[in-house]
Subunit: 348 residues, 2 copies
DNA sequence: CTTGGGGCTGGAAACGTTTCCATATAGAGT
DNA sequence: ACTCTATATGGAAACGTTTCCAGCCCCAAG
C-alpha cells in the first residue's frame, strides 16, 4: 500500500536511469535513445506515475491556470460565459479556477488576492467595477487581466483588454423595432444606475428615441435594483402609473421576467394591449406565451474570445499588450423577433 | 520595475531577519517577538509581498483546491450545484477548479487526469457513469471523490460518498398528485435509459402507478435522448400517438420544455385538455402560462453538502471514510404545485 | 557564580519538477 | 590510430515555501 505518492525519482530508479532522463522522456524534449525511452515509459506505466503540476509550475513559474470571476454562476448569461471560457481553456490545456463575487467589491478583492496567491497566469472577470484598486494591484504583480461584459470606467486600468457585447446597438435595434411597429410611448425598465450596464442601456434607450424624433418622457424610464423583488416592484409601478404606455423594453432578464409577470397580473394581453421586449435572450423566452422578443447577447462567444485574448496576452509582455490592446473586442447582438410585440392598440 | 516576483527571501532581507522568521510571522505559528513581527509585517506590506501557493502546496503536500466536474455549466441544475460548492468552498478557504464533461466519459477521464496532476485535495463530480476506471484510479492515488446527483452502479467504487436528491420520492409525489386529481392515463417522458437518472425515474414512475393500482400502459412511456430536438420529437410522438392521455409527467426540464411547446403546437389547453408536470424546477416554470407544476431538487444544497462531505473526508484516512461513508446523503425534493395540473376533462 | 530553561532566531533540508552543464560513448573522417 | 562531433546521459541547482533543529541570549533559581 503506497502511502507516499510516487515521484519522478521512483520512476528513474525503476527504469535504472537518472531523473533528468525521465523528465526528458515525459516532456518530449531533448534526445533519448529509443531503448531508454521505452524502459522509462514502461516504468512510468507500471508505477502509475502522475507527474505533479506543483513541481513543474514551481520550476517553470507558470501554472497554466486561469482565474474566472463572475457575479453569479446561476445567472444564465454568466453560465454561458463560463461555458465559453471552459471550452477555450480546455482546448488550450489550461485549467480554470472559478469563483463568484456576488457583486460585492470586497469579496471580489479577496478572490483576486486568492488567485494571485495561486499564481494563475491571468484572470477573466466580469468586474463589479473595473476601476477598483485590486485590479491595478493584480496587473502590477504581472498577471494579465481581461474584462468581460463591461470595461473599466476608471483611468488607471486603461489598456486592460476587454470583450464586450454591443449593448448600445442591441438596445437601439429593439427600440427601432418597437418604434417601427408604431409605438411612441415606450416604457424602459432599467437596471441600477450605479452599474455601467444599467447606465449604458438607459442612455442608449433615450438616445435612440431622440434620434428617431420620439418626444422623450422621463416618467417612462424606471430603475430597479438587481433583485427579483425590486424588479417586480419597478414593473408594477410603471404599469400602474402609466396605463397609456403601449410597449415596454426590459433592460435585463430579471426585468423582463417582472414585466411578463406584471402584465399577466394586470390582465394585459401581450402583444394586443402591451408589447414586451427584453435585453438578453433566455431559454424561457421561447416558452412564454407568447414567446418573448429579445436581444440576444453572445455569452458563450464572449467567454471564448476573452480566454483567447487572455492566453495570447500572457505570452507577450505587459508593455506590448498595453500598446496593442487598446480597443476592446465588441461582439454583435441580435434582435430575436418572437411573438410578444405588435402594433399598438390605439394609434394616435 | 520588478520583473522578478518578490519572494519570502526579499522580505527577509528587507526586514533584516531570516526567512524562517518571516514564515513564522506570516503563518502565525511559532513565537516571534512583537518587535520583529512588526518589522516583518512592515517589510511585507512595503514590498507588496504575495506568498506563493506553489511553494506552500509543494511543501505541505496539500493544495487546498477541489475539483468540480459537471456535465454542463449552462444547465440550471448544474449551475445551482456549482453555486453551492463555491459557497461552501469559499467559506472553507478552498479554491475550485471547474470543468465540463459534456457527458463524454473519455473527456471526463481526461479531466480527472488533469485534476490529479494539479493535486487537488478532492473531486466533486456529477459523473457520466460512476463505475468508470478513472474514478477508481483517482481514489487509488489517494484523493477523495464525492459523487452528486447519482451514485455509482459499479461494484468497485463502493463506499464513494455521494449526495443525492430523493428522485424516487419526487417522481412518486408527482404521480400521486396527478392520480389524486383523477388522472389514469398519464404519459411519461423519460430521459435515456442508459443514464442512471433516466432509468431510475422511469422505474419510480411505473412503480408508483402499480402501487396506486393504476393499470400500466407501456405505450405511455416514451424515451428521448438528452438533446432538445430529441425531447421535442419524443413529446410530439407521445401526444400524437396517444390523444387519449390526460396528463404528462416530464422526466427532466428539457422534456418539460418540449411538453409545453408541443401542447401549444397541438392547441391543447393546459390544464383543461392536458395536465403537465415536470421533474426539476426551473426559473421559467413560474413564467409559463399557466405556471408549471414541478418537483424541485435542491441543487444548491446538494453542492454545499457535497463540498462539506468532501473536505471532511479529506481530513480522514481513506479507510475511515470508506467505513463511515456507506450511506449516501439523500436530500428531499419538493412538489411545487402551480397551475398546470387540474382534473382530467372527461373522467371515466 | 553557575546552571537550567524558556523565548527567539536562523540555517538547512525537504517537497517534485526542469534544465544547464559536464561527461561518456560511439561513429566518422583524416 | 587519432581527433572531432553528435548523441545520450546523469548530477546538481533552482523554483518558494514550511519546519525541524540547533544555537543564542537572558533571566531566575540554586
Amino acid at each position: 500500500m503506497p502511502n507516499r505518492s510516487i515521484t519522478i525519482k521512483d520512476v528513474a530508479a525503476a527504469a535504472g536511469v537518472g531523473i533528468a532522463t525521465v523528465s526528458r522522456v515525459l516532456s518530449g524534449s531533448g534526445s533519448v535513445s529509443p531503448r531508454t525511452r521505452e524502459r522509462v515509459l514502461a516504468a512510468a506505466r507500471e508505477l502509475d506515475y502522475r507527474p505533479s503540476a506543483l513541481g513543474r509550475s514551481l520550476k517553470l513559474q507558470r501554472t497554466g491556470g486561469i482565474g474566472l470571476l463572475v457575479p453569479d454562476v446561476t445567472d444564465p448569461f454568466c453560465a454561458g460565459l463560463v461555458a465559453g471560457v471552459l471550452e477555450c481553456a480546455g482546448s488550450l490545456g489550461e485549467h480554470v479556477i472559478i469563483d463568484a463575487s456576488h457583486d460585492d467589491p470586497a469579496r471580489e478583492a479577496e478572490i483576486v488576492d486568492r488567485l494571485v496567491e495561486q499564481r494563475v497566469d491571468g484572470i477573466i472577470a466580469l468586474p463589479t467595477r473595473g476601476d477598483a484598486a485590486h485590479w491595478t494591484g493584480a496587473r502590477r504583480v504581472g498577471l494579465s487581466v481581461t474584462f468581460v461584459d463591461h470595461a473599466t470606467c476608471g483611468s488607471d486600468a486603461v489598456g486592460t483588454p476587454a470583450v464586450l457585447a454591443d449593448d448600445r446597438g442591441g438596445v437601439r435595434s429593439a427600440v427601432e423595432y418597437l418604434v417601427g411597429l408604431g409605438h411612441r410611448r415606450i416604457g424602459f425598465l432599467g437596471g441600477p444606475a450605479a452599474t455601467p450596464t444599467g447606465r449604458l442601456r438607459a442612455e442608449a434607450f433615450t438616445e435612440t428615441l431622440r434620434d428617431l424624433a420620439v418626444t422623450p418622457d422621463s416618467g417612462l424610464l424606471v430603475r430597479a435594483r438587481s433583485s427579483r423583488d425590486s424588479a417586480y416592484a419597478a414593473a408594477a409601478s410603471l404599469f400602474q402609473r402609466r396605463s397609456d404606455l403601449t410597449a415596454v423594453l426590459a433592460g435585463n432578464h430579471l426585468l423582463g421576467e417582472a414585466a411578463v409577470l406584471v402584465a399577466r397580473e394586470f390582465d394585459l394581453r401581450v402583444p394586443a394591449d402591451v408589447s414586451i421586449a427584453m435585453i438578453g435572450d433566455m431559454a424561457w423566452a421561447e416558452l412564454c406565451d407568447p414567446p418573448l422578443t429579445a436581444v440576444a447577447r453572445p455569452a458563450r462567444d464572449m467567454g471564448y474570445r476573452a480566454c483567447e485574448l487572455l492566453v495570447r496576452a500572457s505570452d507577450r509582455t505587459i508593455e506590448r499588450t498595453r500598446r496593442e490592446g487598446g480597443r476592446p473586442v465588441v461582439l454583435p447582438t441580435e434582435l430575436i423577433v418572437r411573438g410578444s410585440c405588435g402594433p399598438p392598440a390605439r394609434t394616435r
